[in-house]
């Protein structure tokens, strides 16, 4: 097991390196002056040529690109993600960690609800394949993944906020200020996100369960006369859940991407809104920080998944 973890870790190092290169290059493909990665366009336009040259020298932009990359990487390793252009002087890391405090609880709630609903419906569908229930679940799942989340959010706002006045349309209340106000402000975003998540889990849970039910050991379990409950829960379900581990990392990526749109609709001041603003104000240091953070999280989740997989399924370790 230890050997497996070390081997997997070594596989991830070049990928992490590649991620930093790509994030660095993203800033370099920006058309226009290299300073636009540090100052806003209006600031750059106000400068004289000598001032631009001086600033380029100060920020090391006149050095070869490889040197620039390693300078940048060195700062990142020391935890210096740079400062924002749009929010003058604020450090990128502070902005990200403030955003995370809003986004993470919402995303975790949505993943939790989506997983429970999706997996249970998917498994019910798999237990009765080709029935009306199965058909309903499969269609519902395609529907859930086809609806644009932001539009669904707008529909929910129209129904529950505009027409019924049950919930606020948008806005954010800190949990420490008012737990009930917080719950009211996250309930619609959580449901909207959870629906998308549940659609994915329904499909995967159904297929994983159907796959497992055809295995020899399930037939053996039936043949030796075990109760249906035991066969389904202890023999089938536990094995069907293993492949679902792999999509857990995927759903995390989905959540962070979904937050960009959902937080825009519901005006939540989280990572998604930060991404949005960074894109709009061409705040590339913030955007770089976000991309680096998100991809590192995904990489870490993949690593955890790989190791978790090897722990629950010993066959993987020897491949």
């Amino acid at each position: 097991m230890k050997a497996y973890i070390i081997r997997t870790l070594f596989l991830y190092i070049p990928v992490l390196f590649g991620v930093t290169v790509l994030v660095f290059l993203l800033l370099k493909v920006v058309p226009g002056d290299p300073l636009s990665g540090i100052l806003s366009i209006s600031q750059v336009n106000a400068l004289t040529n000598e001032e631009i040259a001086a600033l380029q020298h100060e920020y090391g932009l006149d050095k070869p690109i490889v040197v620039q990359y390693f300078d940048w990487l060195g700062k990142i390793i020391r935890g210096d993600f740079g400062t924002s252009i749009a929010y003058t002087g604020q450090s990128v890391w502070d902005l990200i960690s403030t955003g995370l405090r809003v986004t993470v609880p919402v995303d975790l709630l949505a993943i939790g609800i989506g997983c429970i609903v999706g997996i249970s419906l998917g498994i019910f569908a798999a237990l009765k394949p080709n029935t009306i229930l199965d058909w309903l679940v499969t269609t519902l799942a395609i529907g859930a993944i086809s609806i644009p989340s932001y539009w669904l959010g707008i529909v929910f706002i129209y129904i529950f906020a505009v027409s019924l006045h049950w919930l606020p349309a948008a806005g954010w209340v800190n949990f420490s200020d008012s737990p009930i106000g917080w719950l009211k402000s996250v309930i619609l975003p959580v449901i909207t996100l959870a629906l998308g998540v549940s659609g994915t889990y329904m499909r995967y849970a159904r297929s994983a369960m159907l796959e497992v039910l055809t295995q020899d050991y399930i037939r053996t379990a039936w043949a030796k006369g075990l109760a249906p409950k035991v066969v389904i829960i202890r023999h089938a379900l536990r094995n069907a859940l293993i492949p679902l581990l792999t999509i857990f990392g995927l759903s995390l990526a989905y959540m962070l991407a979904g937050s960009v749109l959902i937080e825009n609709i519901f005006a939540l001041p989280g990572m998604g809104q930060l991404t949005n603003r960074a894109i709009f104000s061409r705040d590339f240091p913030v955007l770089q920080g976000i991309l680096l953070f998100v991809s590192s999280v995904i990489l870490l989740m993949n690593l955890v998944t790989d190791v978790g997989y090897a722990m629950v399924d010993p066959r993987v370790r020897y491949k």
Partner: protein, 311 residues
């Protein structure tokens, strides 16, 4: 009946009748090629629904200039936020432009982006996947590490960041989508290539003296078409969704060009008074994406019977 001829003629008529019930109908089974394919696809009811929706969308897109009651760009400031009426079935938007006409024209952007981005990414992914899988070794390692790196980024965040860096516009958006989306095709094709490249028929082709290009195209690629087609049809829907979302955020297609994402954004501003301005374009996006997903599922069932009970 020739396959069963010998045994069947030796038994009585009655037994033969009975047996025939268990023997698959020749007319259904032996049909090969496109007819059987279409017939099977149409047995999948949701695919028909999908095909009808896609047909309607294509019709809207192609004949937008003819069926639109108004010019989608014509501003009429004396008639802003008009309620639905006979002349404006979906009312007018904040600049007095006819909403229905803008939705008809918006179908063009959605379909063009969805299809073009799929063609570009599928072509690039297939080529790289073929090369990686067939040659293996260092080339394979390099290509696969690149896909590993790209797959660390959520597709949507990567796409909008890149689109923002490249600048707004439909061309840059298609490029940004494709630069991430090729990885999926690359992995599918590479996996297929590796699974078939040591089969007897590929070895036989090599022995005959076929060149690499010929083996890759006629023996390896042709046998990898099924998953490629399924992935493409699903990804057209995904790309349409990305375009709409990016345009909704203001990164994709730029106003005044009519796009469903832009309509949804501007309609959201008047949700209280004119909810249909945001409901209609959202419904259009949903239906079109749903249609491509239905077709994709149907294609998977037909093309890959092993997958029938999966997903």
């Amino acid at each position: 009946m020739s396959d069963y001829g010998v045994t069947i003629t030796q038994i009585s008529e009655k037994a033969r009748e009975k047996l025939q019930r268990y023997i698959p109908h020749k007319s259904n089974q032996s049909q090969t090629g496109s007819i059987a394919f279409v017939r099977q696809l149409f047995r999948h009811r949701l695919s028909i629904v999908g095909a009808v929706i896609i047909f309607l969308a294509i019709f809207m897109a192609v004949f937008a200039p003819l069926i639109s009651p108004f010019d989608p760009l014509k501003i009429d400031l004396r008639n802003v936020y008009a309620q639905p009426s006979i002349s404006h079935p979906l009312g007018t938007d904040l600049m007095g432009r006819d909403s229905l006409s803008r939705i008809f024209w918006g179908a063009r952007i959605s379909l063009i982006t969805g299809v073009l981005a799929t063609i570009v990414s599928a072509t690039a992914g297939t080529l790289l996947g073929l090369i990686a899988g067939y040659y293996g070794g260092k080339i394979d390692a390099i290509i696969m590490r690149v896909t590993d790196v790209l797959m660390c980024f959520p597709a949507f965040i990567f796409t909008i960041s890149l689109a923002a860096a490249l600048g707004a516009g439909i061309g840059n958006l298609i490029l940004a989508i494709s630069l991430h989306a090729w990885t999926g095709y690359c992995r599918i094709i590479r996996g297929q290539v590796i699974s078939v490249k040591n089969r007897e028929y590929v070895q036989a082709a090599k022995v005959i003296g076929a060149i690499d290009y010929r083996i890759m195209v006629f023996h390896v690629f042709k046998n990898s078409l099924a998953p490629l087609i399924v992935a493409s049809s699903l990804s057209i829907g995904g790309n349409i969704m990305t375009e709409a979302a990016a345009s909704f955020l203001g990164i994709g297609v730029q106003p005044p060009t009519p796009s469903w994402g832009i309509e949804l954004r501007s309609g959201y501003g008047s949700l209280l008074t004119n909810p249909w301005l945001s409901m209609a374009p959202g419904l259009c996006i949903t239906l079109l994406v749903l249609a491509f997903n239905f077709i994709g599922d149907g294609l998977r069932d037909v093309l890959d019977p092993r997958m029938r009970y999966r997903y």
